[in-house]
């Protein structure tokens, strides 16, 4: 299993000023993996600091809809919202990963795009837009990517039904 924890000695290199702050935003550990919790306003600033600090590849962007499960494992200072955008960064020099989780309110599902830092987020952000309806401000091409262009709704939201096709057995009463 990939070693993703940061040991105590290394933490001091990561500008650790207060115990639960890293890069000036609240930090938590999830099964040993480092998770940063910036606000939407701090989001780009945090990415900038991280990329200056050697986190040179944006591996993944995704989102989670916490509609049915509002409780979650975050530092107490974070105001919980319905959506969370999750960004995974990787540092090739340090061989470390770091994760950023940003709270996005349901009423205003908008977040700045990380395209200027990592152009590779283009398709990933389009996917999140398509499946969750979270808009990325400043993205050069905010269109649907997986679903058809004229589709209604955002399938990975929890209030979007799975949908089913009723099965009609041949010998069932009422079957033609």
């Amino acid at each position: 299993m990939a070693e993703e924890t940061v040991s105590i000695e290394e933490e001091s290199d990561l500008n650790l000023s207060v115990e639960d702050l890293m890069y000036e935003v609240p930090v938590s550990r999830s099964r040993g993996q480092v998770v940063l919790h910036p606000t939407r306003e701090q989001y780009l600033e945090t990415i900038d600091k991280l990329s200056d600090d050697g986190f040179n590849v944006c591996i993944d962007i995704t989102a989670v809809d916490y509609l049915e499960e509002p409780e979650r494992d975050t530092p107490s200072s974070i105001a919980l919202e319905r959506f969370e955008v999750v960004l995974n960064l990787l540092s090739h020099m340090k061989k470390e990963r770091i994760r950023i989780r940003v709270q996005i309110p349901e009423a205003d599902p908008v977040i700045p795009s990380a395209f200027d830092f990592f152009p590779g987020t283009e398709a990933l952000e389009r996917e999140v837009f398509d499946l969750f309806g979270i808009e990325f401000e400043g993205h050069p091409d905010m269109t649907r990517i997986l679903m058809p262009e004229n589709w209604n709704g955002h399938p990975l939201r929890k209030d979007y039904d799975v949908g089913e096709i009723p099965v009609q057995f041949k010998d069932a009463p009422g079957a033609g």
Partner: protein, 437 residues
Amino acid sequence: MLPEQVEDVLMAQKEDIINKDLAARVFRRGEDSAILRMSESEIQAYKPTDDRRMVVNMGPQHPSTHGVLRLSLEMEGESVLRSKPIIGYLHTGMEKTGEQLSYLQGATNVTRMDYSSPLFSELAFSLATEKLLEIEVPERAVWIRMLMCELNRMSSHLLFQATNGMDIGAVGAMIYGWREREEVLRLLEMITGLRMNHNYIRPGGVAADLPDGWRDDTLRILDNLPDRLDDFDGLFTGQPIWHERLQGVGVINAEECLALGVIGPLLRSTGYAWDLRKDMPYLRYDQVEFDVLVGTYGDCFDRFAIRLNEVRESMRIVQQIVEKMPTGDYRIQDKKITPPPRTRIDESMEALIHHFKIFTEGFKVPAGEVYVAVESPRGELGCYIVSDGGPKPYRMHIRGPSFTNLQVLPHMLQNALVADAVAVISTVDPIMGEVDR
């Protein structure tokens, strides 16, 4: 130079690339005109002002697109100016499906994403689940997983040789590649019961122990394959026609790859050594010896050569695994996760209840979220799982390497001929099942 010195030089090169990349941030908006950034309807309505230009749709049924990839190419004569990959034709909502299935069923779902290297998705999913459960699988299970993954890497790269040859017009390659791949698949079938979509690696270990005779069959493949790989070298690597078609085509550099989040053989073909198996070892890759292969020019030929030689590296690893395979359990003996053995069910009521509970309800996973990545034949395959404490993942996301790799296509295709587009798509080797999920 001493090996340590070589390492230092490579490290310095790497650091240089990263610094350059972060300073320049290559594909800044506006400077970049390789991508045709328009929606599908806009592309349909688009009339270029210059009447020598036109928009051509390649795919989704084009045979070289490995499934259903559609490329909208803006062309001037024979050369491509801007392009855009249009995807989604295979989208079946597998991440949504993953939320409806228990952790035990989840592997069946993810294995259908990248259908030419299914074991890697199963591995990423299982490792993520195990990390959430905070359990360690038995040593033998870990080595079986490694064995299966390396065999799968071989079959996947051999499939690449087949399809790549076919796309470029060397139909012989298709026959050879398919034949070798089938040999490996036969071994996988003997072990897992299925040629593809194995559902073999599951949370808690693997589905079954290695069958009798696995060692002989594996060694037979290792004996036969080197000669066959030399055939590939004879037929392609040294051939002038092959060089003409591939060398200098679809060139990309390391900075561009890093900026676009592209890792795997594509990044290694540019001369940048990054392999999760080596750099952030998972399973027991730190206990086997192998080399990370890198190219020089980042062109189609390098990508072809890297994949061909990675088969040889995988064979080296398989050889070591066969020698080191430990004895013991093939799955964890935790009654909460693993169903009781068949014989116990006849004797004990509790075992029967346990068995029933595990298969109807599934096991519960403590709340939390993790991201775990493995090196698939196409790059980093990651799995992000959020658990709410129930028997089903609250959210299951797979980071498919093919999905991000597709983003390099417009940059590789810019100013290339349309005939080269086929070679470029082919050597990027996207698996559309994983792109669309």
